[in-house]
């Protein structure tokens, strides 16, 4: 809503700079987007009187004009506008002037003829094309005959106005009018506003009855009020300049005196009005009803619209003529030929209008107001004001009486509240007088009984109906700056993370200290990617009405998002990337729409995690690097169960020979491995290793009981063994066997070498382990260790066919 500060002077005596006023509105009422100064940055643009206007000798459309700009000598200016003519007052941009859009005008020559400035159209002074009246859009603007040559033009065009552009919140629809804003400012500045009065003369001999019949076939909730007036013998013509200025400074395009009058009253009262060409109605008959699905209406903009059953319609003889509250129909539009006006003043249901505006993508000044509600108490007044104005501007007459389709008894609303409640909620110690004064400034009649206020809220503030609403009025007019700043007192509470939150936080830190950087990817992806890398089979959760085909489905794994991140980095020549993500995945649950939300943690590494530097080569990541990260992380979770890695070739997105499922005892908690080369290619990434763990499951698993182990005072003895085994024998097989046969004092088995180079026969590999023996309570005897070690060697030879070296 654009508020002209010049117009505001009709209501209030405000000798306050516009910026200050804007700031005050923002601090007390609604947000302000800015102050618009139409003449900002423009200089030396004056009224000129065209004394002579001759055709240019070398052009078929240019004219050479001698223009009086209040100086001793007229200025010669060449002009190409079709409507330039001697005797007219015009807008002159003098030499070295600045006009709209930071344009400088200099002396020039046009086809050999000197031109000392420029004659301007409105858009050249920075007018938005949408606001320029259509009849003046194709030429220069003609100023009134009484304009004084040499004077700046800004005052003649309302460009010296300062306009406050307010962004009105949905609850403050009352401020979508000059009246409402004036009431608000009156409360802020403690003034009594001068409100507009209506001076309506009805033609007593011409009764609306019998000429206009109005019937509402919709219910009271949808159409609480519907009234019409009849204005006759109207001359439809452009509005006087003062009215056009108010209209364009309010951000609307002047159309003609009838439409402008309805828009003017709309701006004043916030009451949308619609003017119909009475002669296009059938038998002066109007009815209002809901549309039938499949009906059509051609609206003012020439669009043929298929109507919906929720659309409220104005009809004549049951034929649609107007989409209520949003846009009129083309057939009953007021044109230059119109002489009789049927003028509608109505209240429509906010939800119905909102739906219609949304469904037909028709957002107008009228629909915007109906959507937020309007003052039901002002409909007739606004109708009268507009009728009077149309009659005056169009030299017409207003028929006697109002055709009423529906009337409504509008009463002020009473709300009670106590002083102690106000102070209790605000944390203030306001006195009763302070509060009474605020209600008085708002012009809310108030009765005080003890400490209870009974406040009569006028219909213009339909947003107020609860005590909390009154508290807001008191708070904002008292001033939020004046509120103290305290912290909640009351019984102390303990704030701490729960187990899940704590493990999640710790997990993040562990991943980061392992060299992975946290990524946050999109939860929504394609169905295909959502299903990829899933730990277990599940249906997916899909959006009903997605915004794009890239974001349709909630993810079942984090890895696929991380691979998208890697691809994004790869495409930008970042080939060394190590990321992890902690977040939710969404597994469907039987018989429920809402999926089960499970916390996961996943990582992806590609390239080298070690930066190439002097003396340090890049070390391409491999399976064992990511496995090391996972193993270190799982160790620190202190799970009671045993972690094992079981080779799997079941995941289609993963390398069949380089992927392991991760179990804690019998529970599958995740996987680790290399992304299948084909999958990698599809994602446009290079060799990549990933893991994903079900964090919710890990958190739920039992944790090891932590108990101090005394550190043995006795020395340990180690034995090394190197062996040749078949390629098919795994490290896990060997370690399991050694552990099983190692005896009571075997403390540790460490693999220290794996070799399958040229000194090893084909199909074999060499493995080497260190076995550490220790007795907690005594010094071990060498012979005992040797005996135990030999048992292991025997078992390895026997069970695994190992060839001890």
């Amino acid at each position: 809503m654009r508020i002209s500060t010049q117009w505001l002077q009709d209501y209030l005596k405000l000798d306050i700079p516009a910026d200050e006023l804007a700031e005050k509105i923002e601090r007390t009422a609604v947000e302000v987007d800015g102050v618009i100064r139409p003449n900002e940055g423009q200089k030396k643009v004056v009224v000129g009187h065209v004394e002579t206007c001759e055709p240019h000798p070398d052009s078929d459309h240019l004219h050479v004009c001698q223009v009086d700009v209040g100086e001793d000598e007229p200025l010669q200016i060449v002009c190409g506008a079709p409507n330039v003519a001697a005797g007219e007052n015009v807008i002159v941009a003098l030499p070295n002037s600045w006009i709209g859009n930071h344009t400088k005008i200099k002396k020039s020559k046009m086809r050999g003829v000197k031109s000392n400035g420029m004659l301007c159209a409105l858009d050249e002074l920075g007018f938005d094309e949408k606001l320029v009246p259509k009849e003046v859009a194709d030429g220069i603007f003609i100023l009134p005959a009484d304009a004084t040559p040499g004077e700046p033009v800004f005052g003649y065009l309302g460009m010296d106005d300062e306009i406050i552009d307010m962004s009105v919140t949905p609850n403050r629809g009352d401020m979508l009018s000059m009246n409402g804003t004036a009431h608000e400012l009156a409360a802020i500045y403690n003034q009594t506003p001068t409100m507009p009065t209506v001076d309506l003369h009805e033609d007593a001999a011409d009764d609306v009855n019998g000429q206009l019949t109005v019937r509402v076939d919709a219910d009271k909730h949808d159409v609480p009020q519907y009234k019409m007036r009849l204005i006759k013998n109207v001359h439809v013509q452009p509005s006087p300049l003062w009215l056009q200025i108010r209209i364009w400074n309010a951000g609307m395009r002047p159309i003609n005196n009838v439409v402008d009058a309805t828009n003017y009253v709309l701006m004043q009262y916030g009451q949308p009005l619609h003017a119909f060409d009475y002669d296009q109605l059938t038998d002066g008959q109007v009815n209002v009803r809901l549309a039938k699905a499949g009906e059509h209406l051609t609206t003012l903009d020439g669009e043929d619209r298929e109507l919906l059953a929720t659309d409220l319609l104005i009809c004549s003889d049951d034929q649609p003529i107007c989409l209520a509250g949003t846009m009129g129909g083309l057939d009953t539009e007021v044109t230059a030929k119109t002489t009789t006006i049927a003028l509608e003043g109505a209240v429509f249901d906010a939800v119905k209008i909102r739906k219609a505006a949304h469904n037909h993508d028709l957002h107008s000044e009228a629909s915007m107001r109906y959507e937020r509600g309007i003052d039901h108490g002002m409909t007739v007044t606004a109708l009268d004001a507009a009728a009077a104005m149309i009659a005056e501007l169009g030299q017409g007459t207003v028929a006697k009486g109002v055709a009423v389709g529906r009337d409504e008894d509008v009463q002020p609303f009473e709300v009670t509240i106590t002083l102690s409640k106000i102070n209790h909620v605000l944390g203030t110690t306001l006195t009763s007088d302070t509060v009474l004064d605020i209600f008085k400034r708002l012009d809310f009649p108030t009765k005080l009984d003890g400490e209870t206020y009974t406040v009569t809220v006028p219909s213009r503030r339909w947003d107020i109906h609860l005590p909390a609403d009154l508290i807001e009025e008191v708070a904002r007019l008292y001033g939020y700056d004046n509120l103290p700043a305290t912290l909640p007192a009351g019984q102390p509470t303990i704030g701490k993370l729960n187990e899940t939150q704590r493990v999640i936080r710790d997990s993040r830190k562990m991943m980061e200290s392992a060299g992975l950087t946290q990524a946050i990817s999109y939860s929504l992806t394609t169905e295909e990617k959502a299903k990829a890398f899933a730990l277990s089979a599940s249906d997916v959760t899909k959006l009903d009405f997605p915004m794009s085909s890239e974001r349709t489905t909630l993810r079942l794994s984090l890895v696929s998002g991380l691979l998208d991140d890697l691809a994004y980095n790869n495409a930008r020549k970042e080939h060394n990337v190590a990321l992890y993500e902690q977040g939710r995945v969404f597994y469907s649950q039987p018989d429920q729409v809402r999926p089960k939300e499970i916390e996961h943690i996943a990582g992806a590494i590609t390239g080298s995690m070690v930066k190439k530097s002097w003396g340090v080569a890049e070390q391409p990541v491999d399976f064992y690097q990511i496995k090391g990260i996972v193993a270190g992380y799982l160790k620190r979770l202190a799970l009671a169960g045993t972690v094992s890695y079981v080779a799997t070739s079941d995941m289609p997105e993963m390398h069949p020979g380089r992927t392991a499922n991760i179990f804690v005892d019998e529970t599958l908690v995740g996987f680790v491995g290399e992304v299948h080369p084909t999958t990698a290619k599809a994602y446009k990434i290079r060799e990549t290793y990933v893991f994903e763990l079900d964090l919710s499951a890990l958190i739920a698993l039992p944790k090891a009981q932590q108990q101090y182990q005394p550190i043995s005072k006795f020395p340990s003895i180690t034995r090394d063994v190197a062996m040749l085994v078949d390629d098919t024998v795994t490290n896990a097989d060997v370690v399991a066997l050694i552990t099983d046969k190692g005896g009571a004092h075997l403390q540790n088995v460490t693999l220290f070498d794996v070799y399958n180079g040229k000194h090893v026969p084909a199909g074999k590999k060499s493995l080497a382990y260190t076995l550490t023996y220790r007795d907690q309570n005594a010094t071990l005897i060498d012979d005992d260790v040797t005996a135990a070690f030999n048992k292991v060697l025997e078992a390895l030879t026997e069970k695994l066919g190992a060839e001890i070296r």
């Binding site: 005590p467 509120l483 930066k611």
Partner: protein, 348 residues
């Protein structure tokens, strides 16, 4: 030559030899030569047998003095030479300390996580519980229970991702607050919760819009919670996130779930309040929405608004990060370019 003179001569010659020794080996040789069992001083002491008994202690004492003196000189010379050798070694070992160290790979938290963590810690310190609601929520909790009935303008279809008519991706983390309200036992004290998390809006991604972003919403309900408490809390948040020199101002606003509703502005970080392009010359930047919990919201959760009241606030970590670090495109937060992620080391 008297024995004393002989000792003096040996002392002077020895001191000269010690000083002349330029390597440790030579110093050791001088020591053996002078003070050894077969050395001249031992020999002098052996000659004392020939002296008168009253002379012996005098000469003996002098001989000891000379020997100590020489020993001292040898020790000093040794230390000198050792030091010189170390010094020489140190010169050889000199490094270019400006060469980079061998890096141990270190990851780091996402900038959004940094902001959320900082706020979680601040609020836990004030006794708030952190609650994580579901991201897929019922329309009923996300909207209706927050005083946004079915036909409310703030919930137009285009703003929300629906799964079905009644199930949606939460548009605000406060969707979980009705549950917190329902489940809280007020006999055990006030409800103080902070809900950080992912939220979704049906938006086309561009520099300033993202269909996925984050929110942190706070809620306090007790018998006596005031708007002044809200102001104090928001001031603390701003000072924690931005710095002590930052002020907060409240302006009227509108949210269906609070009444009164306010918007909180913080002193412009860029110009410090003087006015600049970023703050549109106002000196203030809008960072949070807040208000006193609407009586209907309390009633719908079975709480008597005549007895209990509270405040709620919400802020967007994405927007905070954009403001604080001058990030000009919200998509940066979700595309995970390592050159972006690695920029935000510190929490301050």
């Amino acid at each position: 030559m008297s024995l004393q003179d002989r000792l003096t001569e040996l002392r002077d010659q020895g001191l000269a030899d010690i000083q002349a020794a330029d390597v440790l080996k030579k110093v050791n040789q001088v020591k053996v030569d002078l003070l050894g069992k077969k050395g001249p001083i031992t020999e002098v002491l052996r000659g004392m047998r020939d002296l008168a008994p009253e002379e012996r202690p005098k000469v003996g004492a002098y001989a000891n003095e000379v020997r100590d003196r020489l020993q001292q000189a040898i020790d000093n010379r040794r230390a000198e030479l050792e030091q010189a050798a170390v010094n020489k070694q140190l010169v050889v070992e000199k490094l270019d300390v400006t060469l980079p160290g061998r890096e141990v790979p270190q990851g780091q938290p996402h900038v959004i996580t940094q902001i959320i963590t900082e706020l979680e810690d601040l609020f836990m310190g004030m006794g708030y519980q952190i609650v994580d609601g579901d991201e897929v929520e019922e329309d009923y909790y996300n909207f209706e229970r927050l005083n946004l009935p079915k036909d409310h303008p703030a919930r137009d279809m285009q703003d929300t991702f629906y799964i079905t008519k009644d199930v949606l991706l939460r548009t605000q983390t406060s969707a979980d607050q009705p549950r917190s309200l329902e489940n809280h036992d007020f006999s055990k004290g006030p409800l103080k919760v902070l809900s950080p998390g992912r939220v979704y809006r049906r938006d086309t991604d561009d520099a300033t819009h993202s269909h996925q972003f984050h929110q942190i919403e706070g809620l306090v309900v007790d018998k006596h919670v005031t708007m002044a408490d809200l102001k104090g809390t928001l001031t603390l948040v701003s000072k924690t996130l931005f710095g002590d020199q930052f002020d907060v101002r409240l302006r009227p606003s509108y949210f269906p779930f609070t009444e009164p509703s306010v918007e909180a502005d913080v002193t412009c970080f860029n110009c410090g309040g003087k006015g600049c392009g970023i703050c549109k010359q106002t000196g203030w930047i809008e960072v949070l929405g807040a208000g006193m919990v609407h009586p209907h919201v309390l009633e719908m959760s079975g709480i008597d608004p005549e007895v209990y009241g509270g405040f709620a606030f919400g802020l967007g970590p994405d927007r905070f990060a954009m403001l604080k670090y001058g990030v000009d495109d919200i998509r940066n937060f979700y595309l995970n370019d390592v050159r972006f992620l690695s920029q935000f080391y510190k929490k301050g």
